[in-house]
């Protein structure tokens, strides 16, 4: 039971990441291959606020969302003027840089050793340390992110970002400052990823740079691809599939050392196969 709860909590965290990345890639057409870096910013910001400043988890989370959101808007502002391939490449470089900073700015981040002793959430007398309670908290936050994403995509704003995906220049000609929209969605997606980051940091109690490299960004991309672009529910399906999949590997008996690499290989394979045979993902709403 506790194992299932553990999986479910990871599902929740990665579903938030998938939904937020889908807003950028699936809805707006911004191929952002650095969501792990945004995730990391949230995780580290949350960790630092909660440990070094001893702030309450929820306050730390709000501040971490702010930090991630502002940084996301900034990188959105700098990079989203660029054409497709350049944007993607710049995002990969950015991921590489963020990890580099996390490893090297030891006075702030404690370098490769990471930050430990991150407390579990609590609100006055109420503690969320117990796995069931933490999972429920994760679920609630997922629900909020889901609702926010639905609100955004169903609004006129959502229509505009989809138009930007379809034909940005035509969207401009009709009077829309598309850069501002791209900055806004980059910031909102980043803030959501920040939530996931703080959740992860608190759940494991520990963060270190190695969990946030480009491969992790590719994993989150796979969640979006497998579930289906431009479909919020799809990202839930994708997260479910890709969080459960490695667990099936356990039963296949791969030794622990290579399990992580096998997982990576399977994500890569999933990306290849879906692009070749089912680019619209499992849900299949948006003909990519």
């Amino acid at each position: 039971m506790s194992y299932l709860l553990h999986l479910a909590t990871f599902f929740g965290i990665y579903a938030i990441l998938g939904v937020s990345l889908n807003l950028l890639i699936g809805y707006t057409g911004l191929v952002w291959i650095a969501h792990a870096a945004t995730f990391a910013v949230g995780a580290y910001a949350g960790a630092l606020f909660a440990t070094k400043l001893a702030l309450n988890f929820f306050l730390a989370m709000l501040l971490a969302m702010l930090v991630a959101g502002i940084l996301g808007s900034l990188t959105g502002w700098i990079f989203s003027r660029l054409g497709g391939d350049y944007y993607m490449l710049a995002s990969v470089s950015w991921n590489y840089i963020v990890v580099s900073v996390l490893i090297n700015w030891e006075s702030l981040t404690n370098g490769p050793l990471g930050i430990s002793g991150i407390p579990k959430p609590s609100l006055g007398e109420l503690s969320f340390a117990e796995p069931t309670k933490f999972f429920l908290l994760t679920l609630v936050l997922l629900g909020i992110v889901y609702a926010a994403a639905r609100f955004i995509t169903n609004s006129s704003f959502g229509r505009v970002i989809k138009a930007i995906r379809e034909d940005e220049q035509a969207a401009k000609v009709f009077g829309y400052n598309t850069l501002m929209y791209k900055v806004a969605i980059s910031g909102m997606g980043a803030a959501m990823a920040g939530i996931a980051g703080v959740l992860l940091a608190s759940y494991i109690g520990f963060v270190d740079p190695s969990s946030f490299d480009v491969m992790e960004s590719i994993f989150i991309l796979a969640i979006v691809v497998v579930g289906g672009f431009a479909n919020i529910r799809g990202s839930l399906v994708g997260a479910l599939a890709l969080v459960l999949l490695p667990e099936l590997l356990r039963f296949a008996g791969f030794p622990a050392e290579i399990a992580a690499h096998v997982r990576l290989g399977l994500y890569g394979l999933a990306l290849i196969l879906f692009m070749l045979y089912r680019p619209q993902g499992i849900i299949g709403e948006y003909k990519f």
């Binding site: 057409g29 490449l89 470089s93 590489y96 090297n104 290989g265 999933a270 990306l271 692009m275």
Partner: protein, 289 residues
Amino acid sequence: MERMFFAQLVANSVIAGALYTLITLGFNLIYGATKFTNMAHGAVAAMGAYGVFFATREGWGLPLSIVAGVLVAGIVGVITDRLVFSPLRKKKARASVFVIASLGIFALLQSILSITFGAQFWPLLPPGTGRVFDIAGASVTEVQLWILGSAVAASGILFILLKFTIFGKVIRALSDDEEVAKMLGINTDRMIGVIFFLGSMLAGLAGILSGFDTGVQPTMGLFLLLEGAVSSIVGGIGSLVGGILGAFLLGFVENFGIWFIASQWKGAIAFGLLTIFLIFRPRGIMGKD
């Protein structure tokens, strides 16, 4: 700055530029033909390096191992084209589909290397192999001279190939306009396969030399790809000469840059240069409007 120290920085910059040149040549060649950023290019380079690792472990001797490594890279490159990119071209998939597929290939190849050889770092040559030269006050290893020599040779051969042979003309026609090339009767799909083979062999060579210089690790591909891509963009995508200029600019900026900032920030420099160019001159040094 002390003269010897300055000379060392120059030497390091030139060597780095030469290595990045090898990557960017292959990258630009493939980009010219396919018009998308192939993120698997770095992983192909790693394949070349590990090909040599495997061959030397099996006792094949250095020259044969190098040939094997280069061929492995070329073959892997062609396979990725035949199995993935060619079908996508036939479906007229949009550019992002190619890029995402190439990210998948990158992950898959890296995982294969990690599973087969382990995730740790291996040196490719026994330590102390090769002489160390003193050139105008800078110390340069034999491997580093090979890097320089290979870059010069590869650039020269490629230049002659593209400018003076029919094969080269076909490549240039294809890169200029694929539709027109098709109308001229060129089997563009097969030509692209050949270009992948050539470009991937160059990547393999880069990976091998990088491996000789600083060892191999499954994750080595990403760093090589980024340096190559930054060189290409800074130099102007599609321009081979631009790529070379970009590669050396990157090499110099990185090495002189870490005189001012600690060396762990080297990657940040590449990224910083990229960002500056993307903001102020996205078409690169040699790019057209």
